[in-house]
Subunit: 355 residues, 2 copies
């Protein structure tokens, strides 16, 4: 019997003493790896309650060598896209009995590599990794031989790991086809980071759609930089100065679309009257924009959930399934696509308004 006024935590030893059994018995019984006659079990049960016993997690983890914790690595948690992803990851992990530690890399490879190291250092059991910049080999090297990593949303060239991505090719194709169907023939593609898988694939989808409609692919109508609003702005600025500007813009992220919108507004051009827009991701509240933005919606929450499932599956069943999984995307039609203004009219308009 002990006093627990200023309760310093009680340990398995305390419980053992109180219940007149050994520490081993307490531990084994609590973990269900032993059956005990009811009298003994009851003694332990009461001791646990009396002493408010909670096993020390650090001791447990040290002994077991696992943490029941997963790390989620994202470039920026304040970005609604990754926030949504994080929400879904957290919920899925929780339901499987895992906690989540959050790692925001701000796209700094140092921090990415550092976080990858945490798996090795047993800080966590596994890693859900989302990046959005191209790898110069650093990431690949850091992930080499790391078994408990799942790649989300964006690829890291050469890494052998389970991967959960979206159908970027299909998304690019669908967005472009939709614009073509509205009558556009000069369609710009404002991609994200050049060279990154999602950007490449969406561009391929875009090119495939153009090709299917016998529209030549014009490199001057593509633009890369980053998945940011700033990129949207500068791309739009450049595109509008073209001798023959596009009548529609396919923006490869919410943020890019927002930047494009910003620039068009500054140029006093109307959407979709003067220029049509299709955005990508559809995480921002586009239905309230003026006009409501048509966008390709990515199944972000599904991606998070599947990522967790596959990660946990990977290290509990030591499954060797390192396939790449593709989630379908959908076009959400709203009000930012209309038949093109006559392009000569558009050019004149741009010139007139930019005075």
């Amino acid at each position: 019997m002990m006093d627990l006024k200023k309760h310093k935590r009680s340990t398995a030893r305390d419980v053992a003493t109180e219940a007149s059994v050994s520490i081993a018995t307490v531990s084994r019984w609590l973990n269900g790896s032993i059956k005990l006659p009811e009298v003994t079990a009851e003694r332990i049960r009461r001791a646990v309650i009396l002493l408010r016993y909670e096993p020390n997690l650090h001791a447990r983890r040290l002994s077991l060598g696992r943490t029941d914790t997963l790390a989620l690595v994202v470039p920026d948690i304040a970005d609604p896209f990754f926030a949504l992803l994080a929400g879904s990851v957290e919920a899925s992990a929780e339901s499987l009995g895992f906690g989540i530690v959050l790692c925001a890399t701000l796209n700094r490879p140092t921090r990415e590599v550092d976080y990858i190291g945490r798996v090795y250092r047993n800080h966590v059991d596994g890693l859900l990794f989302a990046t959005n910049h191209p790898d110069d080999g650093t990431l690949l090297a850091a992930m080499q031989g790391q078994s408990n990593v799942v790649l989300l949303d964006e690829d890291v060239q050469g890494v052998k790991a389970p991967k959960v991505f979206c159908d970027n090719h299909g998304g690019g194709r669908e967005a472009t086809t939709h614009l073509i169907a509205a009558g556009h023939r000069r369609i710009a593609f404002v991609g994200g980071v050049e060279g990154v898988m999602s950007a490449v694939e969406r561009c391929e989808g875009y090119a495939a759609a153009l090709n299917a409609a016998n529209i030549p692919f014009d490199p001057a109508l593509t633009d890369y930089g980053g998945y940011t609003a700033e990129q949207g702005r500068s791309a739009a600025r450049r595109l509008l100065r073209l001798p023959e500007p596009p009548t529609a813009i396919f923006a490869s992220s919410d943020q890019i679309a927002i930047g494009v919108l910003e620039e068009l507004r500054d140029a006093s051009l109307s959407v979709p009257g003067d220029i049509s827009i299709v955005a990508y991701d559809d995480v921002a509240p586009f239905r309230f924009f003026s006009p409501a933005l048509t966008a390709i919606r990515q199944p972000v929450a599904d991606m998070g959930r599947r990522g967790v499932e596959r990660l946990v599956d990977h290290f509990t069943n030591t499954s060797t399934d390192i396939t790449e999984e593709r989630l379908p995307v959908h076009l959400i039609q709203r009000g930012s696509v209309a038949p093109p203004a006559r392009s000569s009219r558009l050019s004149r308009l741009i010139k007139a308004r930019s005075k």
Copy 2:
């Protein structure tokens, strides 16, 4: 000298052996609690590199009793407001050498209490706690005597802890004053969760502004429910059915404003032509809405940063500063406020349009 082909992790013991010193020496030297002659130091240094030694965090934590990790508890990380908060918390924590574990409660008290328990169980060194539902005493009880908790954004009645909030009273007053200055006299207040500090205070600010302008406070013009779009919708629906509907709505969150917007659109009412709106938080991309929404901006990132600073300060210096800190808010003027339509005209309009 040892082989590390299939590197099982090397321990302090291995380093000690390799450097021909004792484990204690290795540990103490690595932690800077001992000075050694250069020759010895160099031997250890080389052994560490050779063996790729990384101290086992679990052992370290068990021994030290701390984790260098903070927990962030929010209702929903996918909500852009809390995502922004999380981003700032993560960055601040990281810069002070702390990791963040993420806890999304979905407003379920069970989960909140569970997470609070994690501090006690030494799972983490401290807790940053943000809730947005009223406490029935459960939270208070769980936090009682918990020393390493900081409350963010929303109060939990009776808890003694450092608190970092925004100036809700000022925000409510400023929003309302702005609407009054535009000529409105029937101004609705759509609050969040009834009884919760932020809602109460903003309403007080709202009432104070009305009072200063000699406008009577009309309870029929206030509405509570939650910080959700759904609440915005249902509040707007009710308000429009009033015999004398409001000419302006002060919505107490981004989501509420979005819901209000949705409902007004369905009723074919224009903003700000028929009804003016001021939103709260200003995390959503309001500048692209139609119309761009005027809002009270809360310094969400500052709140996160201050919270971390105060939490860490609280348990490193065992400071006893449990004061409540208030961060200022600002009105961001955009396009959703205009002088009121004649209220009789508005009523007729609503009747006509709702046919």
